[in-house]
């Protein structure tokens, strides 16, 4: 058996060699020894069921991993890595390759050492153990989580060559958790008086503690205190055993290792909501409280890390779209840098504030493409161009860059991150 020919890359190489024939129609083929000859895997037994109590992806998929950009940050303990969105399909992100952002590293906090405090303007300050949380009524919801800095390196120009790097501060999971309002009601909100101008302040148990202020309206709406993702416990790097889920809002607010919820009469104005995660405009003033992640999309294939390798003819253009305002209603795709658009097929509809998968099943015959996607959400919002964003915000915002992305597809099928006139 030959490993070289059974890797995905090997198969692609083989297919590429025959692409000229394919372009002219279905090729006549010589008999394939993979079919005509008995293969080891067809003859011998495979691994026993005891081999893998918890399985990892097969070794041929070893390139589908989180990657980081070392120069982005001073220290990998306070840094970020990126989801390999170019290599994933569907909408659910496996936890094992879902991006990580830590401000003081991924800590190890056992369930038996976990405590959650609710205090501040509540009738009875409370402490919950992990076991207590499992006794509250719980719900399941699918939500995307996007770092406010996703695509932030692209403000000044086309920089990083891959959807993983430009758009991979993004994941989408099914969370199991308790609505925040249930926990707040358990502590009692009578002491808070009029709730309209009240806030909650949430913080984590790690060394950064990453505190954020959230208006009560959002807290009572759809915020979840989550302890499972995609059916299993949260991973250590995603806040095991308990994290906050703040649907549609920037990832920094999704506090991991959640240890305290305080009802307050105003925002704390913590470091993460003043000096960071605010958007500096061209005149030097900065927007704050820019929590909602606006509608955005990106083509994941073809893309720089996922070039067209199969030659001319049928090709599937696919990508992801999401909006912090609700459901994605439509995605358009352009092959000519935005001159003309065609509407893509939204697969399986879209959950509110969750990733949607789109497809454009089309044909490519070696012509250069300037591929773009443009998302619309249920509020009628249309994903803007980078030029439109710059016109309003300038180039210094860092965060909340939801611009239309362009991949240039060359005659050889390779793809590059480019910025257009």
């Amino acid at each position: 058996m030959s490993d070289g020919n059974t890797t995905r890359r090997g198969v692609l190489r083989g297919a590429l060699a025959g692409s000229a024939a394919l372009a002219a129609g279905r090729a006549a083929a010589e008999s394939d020894p993979l079919i005509t000859e008995l293969q080891d895997w067809t003859s011998f037994g495979g691994d026993p069921i005891t081999a893998r109590p918890y399985g990892l992806p097969i070794r041929f998929e070893a390139d589908v991993i989180r990657r980081n950009v070392p120069w982005l940050t001073a220290d990998p303990v306070s840094s970020i890595n990126f989801t390999p969105i170019h290599a994933l399909e569907g909408t659910i992100t496996p936890q094992g390759c879902a991006f990580e952002r830590h401000h003081s590293g991924a800590i190890e906090l056992a369930k038996e050492n976990y405590r959650l405090m609710i205090n501040g303007l509540v009738d009875q300050p409370l402490v919950f153990s992990y076991a207590d949380l499992e006794r509250f009524p719980r719900e399941n919801h699918v939500y995307f989580c996007e770092c406010a800095a996703n695509t932030g390196m692209e403000w000044a120009g086309a920089q990083l060559n891959g959807a993983q790097f430009t758009h991979g501060m993004l994941h989408n999971m099914e969370y199991t958790g308790i609505p925040m309002r249930t926990l707040l009601q358990e502590a009692g909100l009578g002491a808070a008086g009029d709730l309209a101008d009240k806030w909650i302040y949430v913080e984590g148990a790690d060394a950064s503690s990453n505190g954020r202020s959230i208006p009560m309206e959002k807290a009572l709406d759809d915020v979840l205190v989550a302890f499972k993702a995609n059916g299993e416990a949260l991973r250590k790097e995603h806040g095991y055993p308990v994290r906050l889920v703040v649907p549609g809002w920037e990832g920094n607010m999704w506090v991991k290792w959640l240890r305290r919820i305080e009802v307050t009469d105003g925002p704390v104005e913590s470091r993460e909501e003043t000096s960071k995660y605010t958007d500096v405009l061209e005149d030097g003033t900065a927007r704050k409280w820019t929590w909602v992640m606006d509608a955005k999309s990106v083509i994941t294939s073809p893309s720089p890390q996922q070039p067209i390798t199969h030659g001319h003819g049928p090709v599937v253009i696919t990508g992801l779209a999401w909006s912090g305002h609700g459901k994605i209603t439509r995605v358009d795709v352009s092959k000519d840098g935005g001159m003309t658009w065609e509407t893509a097929r939204l697969d399986r509809g879209s959950d509110p504030k969750a990733l949607a998968r789109f497809y454009l099943d089309t044909e490519w015959n070696g012509e250069p493409w300037l591929l773009q996607s443009r998302a619309m959400d249920e509020t009628g919002y249309v994903q803007p161009t980078k030029a439109a964003l710059r016109e309003v915000r300038g180039e210094n915002s860092v965060y909340h860059n939801n611009c239309i992305q362009t991949w240039a597809i060359a005659a050889d099928g390779s793809a590059e991150n480019v910025e257009l006139s």
């Binding site: 205090n119 207590d132 920089q159 609505p179 009692g188 300037l370 860092v398 006139s421």
Partner: protein, 395 residues
């Protein structure tokens, strides 16, 4: 607590909360237990902009200078000017409307409370939560002084809190995207003839070449181009080091030999028995094994943010490491060591194979109180290789 639903309903009437569905369970379940005053005091330490939540205490600028040098300067610089890619805390005035604004405490942060709160809860990096209130007051006073916001005789305390004026306190507006953006961008999109002229490519990612290569090699890019692109931003690039797999490869995959496609792991597999021999100087006679040295060089990329070794190596936020094997601990006169190292040095401790091996496996356990923010190397082979590399690179 049974009146909660009424309170909620009252709040709902006059506000945007009208669409909120009340939970089915109106009555509390009686889960959890009462938090004690001591527990609340231990965790509820955040400070509001008006100073609410501040503990008693005080700190002056000159004390702050000393405390800052001890805990903060290794990353933020002696004058809060920032080192390497660590945040600058001072300066940047007048830069907010320029290309790459420098957002420091003085030029950008709107409230003193944010500084106090963050230093108190989250600093120093790698040893958070250990500062006394007086030290936090002093550090905050020193940072304010470094930004020319207070005089050198200033003492920060709850009583003097209101005397500090932050220059950018009015520099923030509340999210106005609804008016500035949504009003325009919620419109039927164009489908044909949407541009004045056919699109042309203005810039390419390959022009800057800052994307990590997929084979685990280093980013190769002119430093000047990087500085021009990213210098001074919070996602700044003031240094290029490390490799994709060194930092990003999941541990469990690195441990799977069949998953190994990176050179580093292949090299490790090529010399699986080398690290097991914990002899003091296994390469003394024949010279170091080039395979081990190469593996160690790769491991060292994880150290190179803070440490340099080889020709012309200078101190960074960590000491330069030339001749570290056999060098007494805390031997460099021009480097400001953590207290624990100074003490070890005075006690006669020397860096040798054994001490380095123990230290690198768990730095904070071996040198309790070290400012080095590195968790340690898990693999014995990595430890062995990096020590061999340090010795080879020092020659």
């Amino acid at each position: 607590m049974s009146n909660c639903p009424d309170i909620l309903r009252a709040a709902l009437l006059g506000t945007a909360l009208t669409t909120l569905a009340l939970p089915a369970v109106a009555e509390p379940l009686g889960l959890g237990r009462a938090a004690t005053p001591e527990e609340i005091a231990a965790w509820d330490v955040n400070v509001m902009p008006d100073g609410t939540g501040l503990p008693p205490g005080e700190g002056d600028v000159w004390t702050g200078d000393e405390v800052f040098a001890e805990y903060c300067a290794s990353c933020h610089g002696d004058f809060a000017e920032g080192r390497d890619a660590w945040p600058k805390l001072a300066g940047g005035f007048g830069s907010l409307d320029k290309v790459d604004p420098v957002k420091t405490v003085g030029s950008f942060w709107p409230y003193v409370s944010t500084v106090w709160d963050y230093v108190n809860r989250s600093m120093p990096f790698g040893g958070a939560g250990n500062l006394t209130p007086d030290e936090v007051y002093a550090i905050t006073a020193y940072i304010l002084y470094s930004n020319d916001l207070v005089d050198e005789d200033f003492v920060l305390s709850p009583e003097t809190w209101d005397q500090v004026e932050m220059p950018n306190v009015d520099g923030f507006i509340i999210d106005d995207r609804a008016e500035a953006e949504y009003a325009v961008w919620r419109a039927e999109p164009c489908m044909t003839d949407c541009r004045d002229a056919p699109a042309t490519i203005n810039r390419r990612a390959s022009d800057v070449g800052v994307t990590p290569a997929d084979d685990g090699t280093m980013v190769e890019s002119p430093m000047e181009a990087l500085l021009a692109k990213y210098g001074g931003t919070e996602w700044g690039a003031e240094r290029v080091s490390g490799s994709v797999y060194m930092d990003g490869r999941p541990d469990e995959m690195a441990a799977m030999p069949e998953a190994a496609e990176t050179e580093a792991v292949q090299e490790a597999n090529a010399e699986p028995t080398a690290p097991a021999a914990a002899e003091p100087e296994p390469e003394a006679e024949t010279g170091p094994d080039p395979v081990v040295v190469a593996a160690g060089e790769k491991v060292f990329k994880r150290c190179s943010a803070c440490h340099a070794v080889g020709d012309g190596a200078r101190n960074k936020s960590g000491p330069q490491l030339n001749g570290i094997i056999g060098r007494p601990v805390a031997a460099l006169e021009d480097f400001r060591y953590s207290k624990v190292f100074t003490t070890l040095g005075e006690e006669g401790q020397v860096w040798d194979m054994d001490s380095l091996t123990e230290f690198l496996a768990n730095p904070r356990a071996w040198a309790k109180g070290t400012k080095m923010s590195f968790a340690g190397l898990k693999s014995e082979y990595d430890i062995h290789a990096v020590i061999v590399y340090l010795e080879a690179a020092s020659d």
